[in-house]
């Protein structure tokens, strides 16, 4: 019991204590801040947007940022501020869904296969390795071609490529912990495999999984943007930063820089936020031997 609490304590950092944990703590905090504010902004968008983000011709077309339209309007006269506020919803959905799928599939398989060992372990490792290094965008394109577009399909494509990462991390942790003394002790005391898995191994696995998950989030966002760019995104009547990026790219040579810049910055900030969380957490959990 003692050991368990201390492990959990090291995992669930008190937010306030983060600031005391040095640079890594600050990085995690900044990342958390970015992500939370963007998610909050997307949630609150229906109430705080000055205009309907899908409404056409609320203002003159190609209007540069000014008093009435702080972020300007695009080629259809849609208000960019409203679009920026609500445009993250699709990407966040894709990211959350893909992480969810990975957690539901990758973690249990990793736990079971590596704990059981033997042939099951070898087989799963083989399968995971064959998918592991595959570029996500390529697979996403192939899947989108087959299944069509949409939030679920995009999430599926990204999840398929990421499951092996979760599997590997979980497996390496499990292999280490399996041999630790207290697990032996628990087994000697008669605890069943499932209890050992859930009580001793799982809590230790969680921190590393969170790190992988945050990188997964960041990648999912960039891949979703890439898919929309090649034309495999959602239908255009839903406000989406990916669409704004694609349209904005076509308008940039004509000088309408505001259409691509603001959504682009938001995507960068969101991806950055998740990356920073991952970086910070991984340093907090496995501090490097820097002096």
């Amino acid at each position: 019991m003692e050991t368990r609490r201390s492990i959990l304590a090291s995992f669930l950092p008190d937010l306030a204590s983060l600031t005391k944990r040095g640079l890594a703590g600050w990085i995690t905090l900044i990342g958390l801040g970015l992500v939370t504010s963007i998610v909050l902004m997307t949630f609150l968008a229906p109430w705080i947007s000055p205009h309907d983000p899908s409404a056409i011709n609320v203002g003159p077309q190609f209007c540069p940022p000014n008093g009435q339209f702080p972020l300007g309007t695009n080629h259809l006269g849609q208000d960019m501020l409203s679009r920026v506020l609500s445009g993250g919803s699709i990407m966040l959905q894709v990211a959350v869904l893909s992480v969810f799928i990975c957690l539901m599939i990758g973690v249990p398989i990793g736990l079971l296969a590596s704990y059981a060992g033997g042939k099951l372990d070898k087989l799963c490792s083989l399968m995971m390795d064959s998918i592991y290094a595959f570029p996500a965008l390529v697979l996403a394109i192939a899947i989108a071609a087959m299944l069509g577009t949409g939030v679920v399909n995009m999430a599926l494509a990204i999840a398929v490529v990421y499951v092996p990462s979760y599997f590997r991390i979980v497996r390496s942790q499990v292999l280490t912990i399996k041999e630790l003394l207290y697990t032996e002790a628990a087994r000697a005391a008669g605890a069943r495999g499932r209890t050992i898995l859930l009580r001793y191994i799982l809590p230790n696995v969680v921190p590393s999984v969170v790190v992988v998950a945050s990188v997964n989030f960041a990648d999912a966002i960039l891949t979703a943007a890439g898919l929309t760019f090649v034309g495999l995104g959602v239908a255009k009547d839903i406000p989406d930063w990916g669409w704004d990026l694609t349209d904005g790219r076509a308008l940039l040579p004509s000088g309408a820089w505001w259409v691509i810049t603001f959504p682009g910055i938001m995507i960068v900030l969101l991806a950055l936020g998740f990356t920073l969380i991952g970086e910070g957490l991984s340093e907090l959990l496995n501090p490097r031997l820097e002096q």
Binding site: I56, H75, L76, S125, T149, K236, D237, A250, P253
Partner: protein, 610 residues
Amino acid sequence: MGGEGNFMKIFRSRKAVTTTEGVIIVALILAIILSASTLFYVSTVTSQLAGLSTSISKLSDSLSKLSSDLATVSKTVEEVRKIVGAPPPTPTPTPPPPPKLKDTLIVGTTDSVELTLDPAQAYDWFGWHILQQIGGRLVEIRPGSKAGPEDYVPDLATDWSASADLKTWTFNLRKGVKFEDGREFTAEDVKYSIDRAIALIPSIPEGAPAGLGYDAVIDSVEVSGTYQVKFHLKIPFAPFLGFMYCRSSAIVEKKYAPIMQINYTEGDARASTPVGFLGPYKLTRWVRIAGKDNEMRLEANPNYWNVTGGYPKTKRIIYKFYADATALRLAIEAGDVDIAFRHITAADVLDLTKNPNLKVWWGTGAFIQYMIFQEKIKPFDDPRVRRALAAALNRPAVCKTVFLGTMEPLYSIIPKGMMGHTEAFKELGDANYALTRSLLAELGYNENNKLPVELWYESSGHYPMSADQALMYKDSFEKSGVITVTVKGIDWAGYRKNRNEEIMPVYVYGWYPDYVDPDDYAFLYWAAWLHHNYVNPEIVALYDKARAITDPTERARLYAEIDKIAVRDSPVIPIFQGVAWGVTKPDVEGLVLDITTDMRYWLVYAEIPA
């Protein structure tokens, strides 16, 4: 397999790599990469000895040729000496030399040949475009004209006539036109080409001859003289000249055109098309990489019958293919190409008109877009619902917002500039919400019970700005207050599939002219391949009547009747008509953008400044 743990160990490893090992490793990697890619490209070595002996014989041939050349040269030198010795003749004033023209122009485009350059198959704009530059047909259309019956001019045929019943058409062919190998063009070649096109219809059901209905119109082709050919038709067909103008009627060269589809052959442009090089250009290079065009080259054809007219004005045209409209805009702006044509977006072309270093060309268009209702899905089987939606459309808004004024609202399926065009759909109006509401009220739809509409658009760029168009239609439908719209997009292949399976309640399609005649447009109201299940024998009867007579007034009257019925039934709603544009460097001249939507590069040139 090494897991995370080992990875960490490596990071902390203290084992250094010696320089030699490093060099070997790097060299090994480079060698692997090089050999892997080279393996794919090394061609087989033919017998070395045979090669060597042929080289030796070639060498001896060259040596003997060299010695005879030397003899000729010494003779010429003697003659020159004699002339030079004579007193100089009095100089006569020479006329100023004609302006020198650039001999190569580079065209940038986002198009690509869809499948083949076989006239029996090709049905895409770009395939037809290339076939027009290299192939010959019996007739051409005067550039810049309205493409009316009086605008057909001789190409490989010098004159023609039709029988009174419009079922027999006689063409007299131009004499002395030669194929590449020197063989003369005769009526046999015309017969072979058309017979081949018709023979291939069963195996190429999606080709141009099938789509145009060659087998439904042409009964037989008769060679009535070495330079005369007679077409016997199954029905009286007034627009037959249009058929002969289509690229599917291009003359093929028999030895390259067996009765089967001719596909692209890597590295051999001549073998990649069955068409005889009877046009202003020859196709000298066609490179496709990974199924898409990468480069095409046209070189002036010395056998072209109009070479004496100075055509083609530019000896070589090189096509370069860009990924999308934005990339093409950047290319023309950076000066990487001389001409940018298809496609530049409306926003870009309007922006480029402000650029003093570029020239923007505008022209008439004949490209149209129209909205289709699936009558198998309720309530779109009720003409009142269809008329209500037609009334709710706001064409001027679409043209202004999405296309920035470069497209024009269209109120008849026959575009402006063509005989038979009317403003029939103005009767239903634009954003005529009063009419929409009253029609839908008859069926019980109102603010509290809105009509749900599922609107589909094509998402892979086959039509310009299709996603934005869909948003506009949604906007205008919903502004009526009694309609709610869901927008759905799918790529071209899926779009066609859905069309064939008849599952899209409302969808948008486009059309380019095959030949410039209302006959090629009017049938769109009930075209079977649109799969919208509109059947009306009355309207078809009018159509069949109109194609069987030549009197333009009477024909126009019949097409106006067709339009009236279309407004009443609203099976298909014309939305807008496209204008064509191109962007070039300022020294380029001669672009003609007329109602044929053709681009005739043999008229285009750039002067070299003196």
